[in-house]
Symmetry: C2
Subunit: 222 residues, 2 copies
Amino acid sequence: MFHKVLIAEDLDSISIAVVQALEEISILEINHAKYCDDAFLKIKKALHDNQPYDLLISDLSFKPDHRENRLNSGEELIEAVKKAQPDIKTIVFSIEDKSFRIKSLFNNLGINAYVSKGRDSIPELKKAIQRIYNNEEIKPSAEISHALRDKSLFEIESYDISLLKSLSKGLTLEDISSEFKHSGIIPNGSSSLEKRINRLKIYFKASNNVHLIAITKDLGLV
Amino acid sequence: MFHKVLIAEDLDSISIAVVQALEEISILEINHAKYCDDAFLKIKKALHDNQPYDLLISDLSFKPDHRENRLNSGEELIEAVKKAQPDIKTIVFSIEDKSFRIKSLFNNLGINAYVSKGRDSIPELKKAIQRIYNNEEIKPSAEISHALRDKSLFEIESYDISLLKSLSKGLTLEDISSEFKHSGIIPNGSSSLEKRINRLKIYFKASNNVHLIAITKDLGLV
DNA sequence: ACCTCTTTTACGGTTTCCCGTAAAGAAATG
DNA sequence: CATTTCTTTACGGGAAACCGTAAAAGAGGT
């Protein structure tokens, strides 16, 4: 079994149970960080000491705090960690269940498993760890397997996300047009933006911009 | 100390830690339900057997599921429980940190304590239980005490919420006007709605409707 | 170079939003 | 009952969104 595992999780109520679970599958060295920055430092320190971690189990969202942090989400943490130690195994353990985000975790960050916090997640987490250790094919947990099959979600690109983000900031189409021109994002004609927004409205069955933002906010896209 | 305590919490990763915490402060009978409906049944059963629960610790949000449930949130659960057993003590243990919602828990449901899931919440939970058992004055945990002092939040009423909800559904002002007329909500003139929305836009520093919905979505008001 | 298909941009008309002002109605005060 | 004050509603003009159509620009193929 893995020797050295790091847990990045802000909620103490959850990390307690995860630590317990790891002990039960006889993992010898278990460490825990409540902040992404701390987790990253521990990874670096372990590397430097030539005793690197085998596995990182990370949450996605961390509560903001009085503390100023450089890394503020599981995504950012994993990205940074993979740069420092590309061979580390990673599991995301989060309540997030939006297919769009989970997909991008596998595709963009190359995580090894995703376990959704739910009514029976601790056993699932144990199984996922075992599978990764055995280098077995990752079978996404039943709850989210449908999400990964959902091809249609591929079509929403980062361009759409920035567009939605700008909209949700209260910018007008003209504003966004000049903003995009300024940052070199194309297309940026206000007419094109309009067309693109229209595509999104059809896609999400929204009747106007307000509705569109409400829907995509719910989906966690913005 | 309390004898009989019920935990209503869907995430196994959290309930494990809570059960452990209760054991540590020597509570003898600890039960746990993953669904609001199950929790309510246990309360009723215990009442019927003349061995009622002393304390209910409940989450607010429960993941939807294949199961059809009558009660779908902590609020609904507590409301139902208090009707069946008015003298039961209640603690809400949730990640929710929107002052608006916490306030209404104390004011409308008469909960005995609110503990916010965070980086140091298990000790806080223990303290809260102790305080309630000793009938001490409830001191809201430091994190949220400022929220309760925030008077301005009193001004946002359920009227505003329904207005924002309708907006986020993509309805136009005219639509909302007739909807409100239909359900007897006043004021319902489209001009009044406009004025009210304007008040909200000033309050939340939103530059237009889209922005307003984005902000209030983030705050969890809608 | 020419044609074709696609993408991007432009334009015009209609609806809805946005914002100020003002009238009508309701409630409170003396 | 008259006056004041607050709330609700009405109206009008300008800005932005909404929606269809069409021109301009690019990309790819022959």
